[in-house]
Symmetry: D2
Subunit: 344 residues, 4 copies
């Protein structure tokens, strides 16, 4: 799998994270999160976010999202989500499953983003009576599934809308690090200061083996999260090894270093792609539109990536991982630049 | 946490498993189980079990059990389980959750074991009509929650009963290694040869960081397991790191070495405990009955363990981990021997 | 089906109820419970129970029970119920279904009754940790499945236990009328005054076509009941016809007249059965123990009834309906008296 | 509630149906559908549909739809439905609930209709992988929520698409009678001959108190429907009274007489409305677009009806019930004709 730009899920783990695992691997430790690593999470993430938080480690992003939403939304409830969101398209109905059947209400939006206007329309189209599912949350993805990044004021506007309607605001932050690295803002500015209630903080794509954190900014929202996590079989017995990954990510800035590197390499690809680009490159994902012959040529040159969008659209997604070899990126950048000048 | 006999969940991971993780941590690998490690599991476990198998890694034993049962039992179905089984008492209703509400029908039995006679009674007490939940499976735990081990003929007798009634047979093998090590039989003899349909093969308690395998002996039973796993958020993106743990466990016999060591140390404790013993020591768990003063003395000497059984019963559980220091065991053995002669 | 003593479910509806249906069958009425009949229920049942109530009509007893429990118990919760209760044995898992998988914790008890002592034992046997289902309610059946009736002080004692542990108290009152008629107490004395939180008030077995009412004595408990009812497809569009049945039952005492008649006839059977009786006859159900030959003779004489209890126990259940012909009862009484003197 | 055009749910029941209830109300009958009425349903509907069928009575249309879909679609499955369908907009998530969380995939379409082209697009937009919900069924509404009627060839085209993709075809026939009456075709032509697998046959809106039938044209599809119905608390104990309503509807053609009358009156309104009409009037529903002043004038004249469509669209729905007084219709027709000439 050289020249693999399929997903940041194909990456290995950071050496620092492996080292943290090895360091935690000595002697007994209390099980189920009562260990010395897990019990530090609230404080460490609290400092990171400059706010009191309640942090719950899980091992997949889908678990983080679906459990967070299940805590916010009852079985007869509904969540507004972008029609291209991961929770909608890539989780095999986990949000429905974890919530006991709550519905996702799909909202269109360019660049993978929700807007207050689009949410307003969707809300109006789903009037609340005893005959209808009851909207209770909005979820957005940061960075979005199209590699764009919500600015703090965009989130604040969505949050204002949500609060008015009594909806909680959840952020799927599978690539939250890439968003923070891009904006060079604080984690606080992108979350609770902008009105976010719960964040799925992703580490797996960004250098962990398998570690995500559900971060509640309002302890009152936590409710029965712990029971739901256990019941969904996501309370790991040797939790120290997930928590140690999370600590290794955030305690000395590894999460931002990894993300910044991936972003920078993606930006290089974006510059090379130029007019082929479908969306602004803001995180570690690059979306291009090309014709079938062009994409075939890239693949013939050994680059692996996914087609994107509707069949036949000619869109393709190029994802740069935290550990992407620079050679890969240089080669792809050259190939993209060459492509630009030569449609088939 | 020195002298910790609370659970094999408090143990660290084997150095061999850590090494396997490190070895797998190079370059990109396909995500979601399409990697070079995961795709070898069927063959490797097939050799181990001398049978065609379909193997699905997950990261918790509760996930393995609840997903396996959900595949075997519809929402309106029911599973016979020992009243003290982990699925009944320690999974916060995960079997109900994963199955969409199927019921566990509790069956009593000494030594933590189901018997055909007890199952027959339970079956008769739950007649099948359109007004009742529909029995579809039996689950047993190997080694049991009381540290005893089912012999192949005991399992075969349960399986014969199950087959007659159209019930599938699942084994919660969180400590399957300890059972195999104790009996010195083959994995085949304890599973499909005795009529087992699906096994939750545990590695976490036995030296892994977090890795369990659901092993189907009949491919036709697999059905929609993969979709259920994904939907329950148990399909890890970087699955290679779970699969690598499983391979490191079974490929060169580590699983049996670890289990045999723990068993041997537990046996030493059992001999020391003598008349205090509640159950035969067959795996890595030792159950004693003592008075409150005796248990307090053990704790005062630094030994950590759980009370067991009904409140005030004076029963206690001592679990030996694969990495239990011999010193701990020697000290506890001495303390138990001393206790025997001196009730308070 | 002459001489049918199988169930009060086999009975027809009272002429008064049919008349009420006919009377309600004129012109348009608002749908979904916003009609002139349904909107009177709170007031009418409020007078009956001498308490502010919120009343929700449904068309089956199983719906009443399962929806009531789903409102009181979260998916990871549990409800203590007698091991022979209808919710346990005759609802095909509806309580699990409606609640999203909450568990029923079975409690033994003679005469079909729960006691504080048995509940205390069951509670102690289900300690509450993050690994276990969380007890949230107790449900009892009035009159019980064995035809006995809880006295107000028995209920109050159970309620005291429940309150101490933070459990809600639900009563399956499929035969609540028979209990009130037997005790000649007020509905209030058997419910909120004794600490009952929610009652499934049965009318179907007692002369309605299909009408049950879920009665909340504490409006705060209602929570999302209406949404759950709708979602479970139990909000009837032409609700007036269910509500009209309920009004016809309770507004002029029909419910007590019907129940009193059935009770009196059952008592006559009980006296005839004498030593064959398994339980005191307090409602409209008579349980006898006889040998196979005796039961065969009854059936040969045209009496229809169900065997009861474990297979081969020789127990049988004789249910007297509100409209049971007196001739049937006289004939059965004579047959029972004859039986007493002549075991086969 | 004079001049009520809000819904056919506000109508009373046909005298014939009341008479059938009264006729069935004599003496005991076996409970739970084992009675003389219920056991005739398969044969009677079999003759009506000229095909072997399995018929299951329930008391609400939502139950019929959601239970039918739950039988066809697993929890991780999905159903294509028109974005304006009753299952989507008016059942509070019952399809999700009954199925254990399966998803509705929304499809646009003018006149309330699905088309193969729109389904093809929707199918392509939901590619099937282990990460996605699995399409298993298509549901359409007949007559549609906009009062239009699918022709047999339109259904056949949808069915051809469905079969190719392995999807079952369900029809929500809450107003199936109106569709048959409009087309003057046979029930067979609109169902199994056109490839329909399961039909929710509605009677409640068309003159029953509360009676719907789930009709399976392929016995193999029935699967576990009966257990699902029981578990959802929709197996009525005194089922004879639901079945008697269904028999009274179909045995002598009442269902078509009622529907034909309502259709004819609706057509009269449609002619009066002329250019105000949004959709062809084919069943018993009339949709008009007017300005706010015009709608206010209608309401001031005592006509009751619902606004329809997005807020401020000026659309309104006028539903004619089977028992709508002709005077109401004449008055409304006159008012509509007057309106046409005088926008405010």
């Amino acid at each position: 799998m050289s020249r693999c730009f399929k997903s940041d899920n194909t990456a290995a783990a950071s050496p620092e994270i492996l080292a943290a695992l090895a360091a935690a691997n000595h002697g007994p430790a209390r099980a189920y999160g009562d260990d010395a690593w897990s019990t530090r999470l609230n404080a460490v993430f609290g400092r990171l976010f400059e706010h009191e938080v309640r942090v719950f480690p899980v091992s997949t992003g889908t678990a983080a999202n679906a459990l967070a939403l299940a805590t916010l939304v009852p079985p007869y409830g509904a969540t507004f989500a972008h029609e291209g969101a991961h929770v909608v398209r890539d989780e095999c109905g986990a949000p429905e499953f974890m919530s006991g059947g709550a519905r996702l209400l799909l909202v269109p939006g360019s660049g993978g983003k929700l807007t207050p206007a689009a949410l307003r329309t969707a809300f109006a189209d789903n009037p609340v009576t005893v005959h209808t599912v009851q909207p209770r949350a909005v979820t957005l993805t940061q960075a979005t599934e199209l590699g764009t990044v919500y600015r703090p004021d965009e989130i604040a506007a969505i949050s204002a809308f949500a609060r008015e309607r009594g909806l909680a605001l959840h952020v799927d932050g599978a690539r939250f690090a890439n968003a923070v690295a891009f904006l060079r803002c604080t984690p606080a500015e992108l979350t609770w200061r902008a009105g976010v209630d719960v964040l799925s903080f992703g580490a797996t794509k960004n250098g962990a083996f398998g570690a995500e954190a559900v971060v509640f900014f309002d302890p009152a929202r936590v409710a029965d999260f712990e029971l739901r996590r256990k019941r969904a079989a996501h309370l790991l017995s040797k939790m120290r090894f997930v928590s140690a990954q999370l600590l290794a990510c955030v305690e000395d800035g590894l999460w931002l270093r990894n993300a910044a590197r991936a972003n920078a390499l993606a930006r290089r690809l974006g510059e090379a792609a130029g007019s082929l680009l479908c969306h602004q490159v803001e995180g570690n994902e690059v979306f291009i539109a090309a014709d079938a012959g062009q994409l075939a040529r890239l693949r013939a040159a050994g680059f692996e990536f996914y087609d994107w969008g509707p069949e036949g659209s000619g869109e393709a997604r190029l994802v740069v991982s935290w550990d992407q070899p620079e050679d890969d990126v240089d080669a792809l950048a050259a190939a993209l630049a060459a492509l630009r000048g030569s449609p088939t």
